[in-house]
C-alpha cells in the first residue's frame, strides 16, 4: 500500500494496516475463522444427518437418567433435577459434536507433506488452524445446540438456566475450546514421529468424554476422583462451561477462568514446542 493511499485511509478514520500490524493480523485470522464457519454451514445436509445421531444419544441419556431418578426415588441428585441433568448433557454433547476432526487433518497434512507448503505462507500454521477450528466449532456447536435443545424441550421441557449465566458461559466455552484445540493439535502433530495417530486420537477423545464429564457431571464421581478431575484440562473443556450455564453448583467463574488460563499457557507452550521440534523434521524435495 502506498503512503498516499494510507494517508487517504487514515483521513477517512480507518486504522492503518501495515503488513505486520497487530490489527491486520487479527483481521486475517478473523477472516480464517469466518471461512471455518462458512465451511461448516456449507455442509448443512450432512450435518443434519449427524444431528439425528445427537438426538438419538440425547434420547438414550434421557431414558437412562429417567430410570435412575425413578429407581432412586429422588427428584434431585447432587443438585441436578432430571431437567438440569438432561440440559447439562445437551451442552456437553453439543460441545463434543462441535469438534472438527482436527487431529486427523493435521496428521494428514504432516504425512502428505502439505504442511511443507503451508509453512511458507504468510500466516502462522498454528493460528490458522486455531481460527479455522474456532469458526467451524461455532457453527457446528450452534446447530447441535439448536437441534438437541429442540429435541429435549419436547421431552423434559425448556432450558432451566438463567440468561445471566450466558456471559460467563461464553468466556468459559472459548477458553475451553482453546485448551481443546491445543491438546488436539498436539495429538495430530505426533504424526511427525509415529505411523498411526488414530489410537492417540481415540484415547484423547475417550479421556475427554470420561474425565471431562461429558456423560456424567463431576458431582457423580467418587470424591477423590472428582477433586482430581476438577483440576484437569478435560473438565475445563466440557464440565466447567456446562455447569456454569446450568448453574446451581458451587463452581466459581473466577476460579474456572484462572484454571483455564493456566492450562491455555501450559498446553500452548507444549504445542509450540512439539510443533517446532516436528517442523525441524520437515524436508522439502522440490515438487
Amino acid at each position: 500500500m502506498s503512503s498516499g493511499a494510507a494517508a487517504v485511509q487514515a483521513a477517512q478514520g480507518r486504522p492503518r494496516l501495515t503488513p505486520g500490524s497487530p490489527l491486520r493480523r487479527v483481521r486475517k485470522y478473523f477472516a480464517v475463522a469466518r471461512m471455518g464457519f462458512a465451511t461448516a454451514t456449507a455442509y448443512r445436509k450432512e450435518y443434519m444427518l449427524r444431528s439425528v445421531f445427537l438426538v438419538l444419544i440425547l434420547y438414550v441419556f434421557t431414558v437412562l437418567w429417567r430410570a435412575v431418578y425413578s429407581t432412586t426415588g429422588t427428584a434431585v441428585i447432587e443438585g441436578f433435577s432430571l431437567r438440569d441433568m438432561v440440559w447439562y448433557l445437551v451442552i456437553t454433547e453439543s460441545i463434543v459434536f462441535s469438534r472438527p476432526r482436527l487431529a486427523s487433518r493435521i496428521d494428514e497434512e504432516v504425512k502428505s507433506g502439505t504442511l511443507a507448503y503451508t509453512l511458507v505462507r504468510p500466516y502462522s500454521y498454528m493460528l490458522f488452524h486455531y481460527a479455522h477450528t474456532l469458526g467451524e466449532s461455532a457453527a457446528r456447536g450452534l446447530m447441535s445446540f439448536l437441534v438437541g435443545g429442540a429435541a429435549v424441550t419436547t421431552i423434559v421441557g425448556p432450558p432451566p438456566f438463567a440468561l445471566a449465566n450466558a456471559g460467563v458461559f461464553v468466556v468459559a466455552l472459548w477458553l475451553g475450546a482453546t485448551i481443546d484445540f491445543l491438546m488436539t493439535f498436539s495429538v495430530g502433530l505426533l504424526a511427525f514421529w509415529v505411523e498411526e495417530t488414530s489410537p492417540f486420537v481415540l484415547i484423547h477423545d475417550r479421556l475427554l468424554m470420561l474425565l471431562g464429564g461429558m456423560m456424567l457431571p463431576l458431582e457423580i464421581f467418587p470424591p477423590l476422583l472428582r477433586s482430581i478431575a476438577g483440576w484437569l484440562p478435560m473438565s475445563m473443556v466440557l464440565y466447567a462451561p456446562a455447569r456454569l450455564l446450568v448453574g446451581g453448583g458451587d463452581l466459581l467463574p473466577g476460579r474456572v477462568f484462572v484454571i483455564q488460563a493456566a492450562w491455555v499457557l501450559l498446553a500452548g507452550a507444549i504445542s509450540v514446542a512439539i510443533f517446532r521440534a516436528g517442523a525441524k523434521r520437515v524436508t522439502v524435495h522440490g515438487g
Partner: protein
C-alpha cells in the same frame, strides 16, 4: 451393465459352504499378514481400541458405583454386555470387515470383480477387508468375560452363543442397511447412521427402554436382542430368549442376503479399471 445373478446349483450346499470357509480362512490369513506389514501401527490400533473400550467400562463402573442398581441391572450385567458386544462386533469385523463399506462398493459399482468369480459375491466382498482395531475389540471382549464373567464351561457356552448371535445381528442388519444402496443410490451415510444406532442402543441396559422404543429395538434397529442378552442369558440362563435371539440373528442374515440378491438385479457397473493387490 445390468448384472445377471448366477443361479445357485441345486445340491452340494455343504461343499459350497466348505469352499466359502476355506476362502474365509485364506482371506483371514492374508488380511492379518497385510496388517502385520505395518506391525507397530497394527499393535497401536489393537491396544488403542482395547484402551478405548476400557474407558467406556470405566464410565459404567463410575455410574454403578453411584447408582448400584438401575431397573434391575447391576455393574456385572453391563460388564457382560460389553464383553458380548465387543466379542460379537470384533468377530464380525475381523471375518467380514467390508460390511461397513458395502454401500460405497455398491454405489460406486465396484462389485464387478466378485460377480465373475464362483463364490457368493456378497460373502466374498465382505471377506476382503478386516479392520486391525477389530482385533482389539475381540481380545477385549474375551478378556472381560475371562476376568469378570465367572467363566465355567456352561457359562462359556452361553457367552459364545450370545456373542455369535450379537455378531450375526450386527452383521445381518449392516448388510440390510448397506444393501439399500442398490435402491436409493448413495446410502453410505444412512447405513452408517443406522449401524451406529444399533451399536449405540446395544451398549445400554435393555431394561431402560419401554413403549415404542422397545418395539423399535426389536424390529428396525435390532439392538433389543443384544442388550437383553446379559441379564436374560448370562444371569438367568434363559434358553428361550437365547433361542429367540439366535432366530433373530438368522433372520437378519437371511434377510440381508435376500435383499442383497434382489438388489443385485438392479446393480450397474462403474466400469472401473484398476489393479487389485
Amino acid at each position: 451393465m445390468a448384472a445377471r445373478v448366477p443361479a445357485a446349483p441345486v445340491g452340494g450346499a455343504t461343499k459350497r459352504l466348505l469352499g466359502h470357509l476355506r476362502l474365509l480362512r485364506a482371506y483371514l490369513g492374508a488380511n492379518l499378514s497385510m496388517a502385520m506389514e505395518y506391525r507397530a501401527a497394527f499393535f497401536a490400533q489393537v491396544f488403542g481400541m482395547m484402551l478405548n473400550n476400557s474407558l467406556w467400562l470405566a464410565y459404567w463402573v463410575l455410574f454403578f458405583h453411584r447408582f448400584p442398581v438401575v431397573r434391575g441391572w447391576e455393574r456385572e450385567d453391563v460388564l457382560m454386555l460389553w464383553a458380548v458386544i465387543a466379542t460379537g462386533f470384533g468377530l464380525a469385523t475381523v471375518l467380514f470387515g467390508a460390511w461397513r463399506t458395502l454401500a460405497r462398493l455398491i454405489a460406486e459399482g465396484q462389485l464387478d470383480y466378485y460377480l465373475v468369480l464362483p463364490k457368493s459375491p456378497l460373502w466374498h466382498a465382505l471377506m476382503t477387508r478386516a479392520s486391525p482395531s477389530s482385533w482389539g475389540d475381540l481380545v477385549f471382549g474375551l478378556a472381560v468375560f475371562a476376568v469378570w464373567g465367572a467363566p465355567t464351561w456352561p457359562r462359556a457356552a452361553l457367552f459364545a452363543v450370545s456373542a455369535l448371535a450379537c455378531g450375526a445381528i450386527l452383521l445381518g442388519s449392516g448388510i440390510v442397511y448397506n444393501s439399500l444402496a442398490f435402491f436409493v443410490g448413495h446410502a453410505e451415510a444412512l447405513a452408517l447412521q443406522m449401524e451406529n444406532a444399533v451399536i449405540h442402543f446395544s451398549t445400554y441396559p435393555g431394561a431402560i427402554f419401554g413403549g415404542a422404543a422397545r418395539l423399535l429395538l426389536f424390529t428396525v434397529v435390532p439392538a433389543g436382542f443384544i442388550n437383553h442378552l446379559p441379564v436374560a442369558v448370562l444371569r438367568h440362563a434363559d434358553l428361550g430368549f437365547m433361542a429367540f435371539a439366535a432366530l433373530a440373528a438368522a433372520a437378519w442374515i437371511i434377510g440381508g442376503q435376500l435383499l442383497f440378491r434382489a438388489g443385485l438385479r438392479r446393480y450397474e457397473s462403474g466400469n472401473l479399471i484398476g489393479p487389485r493387490m
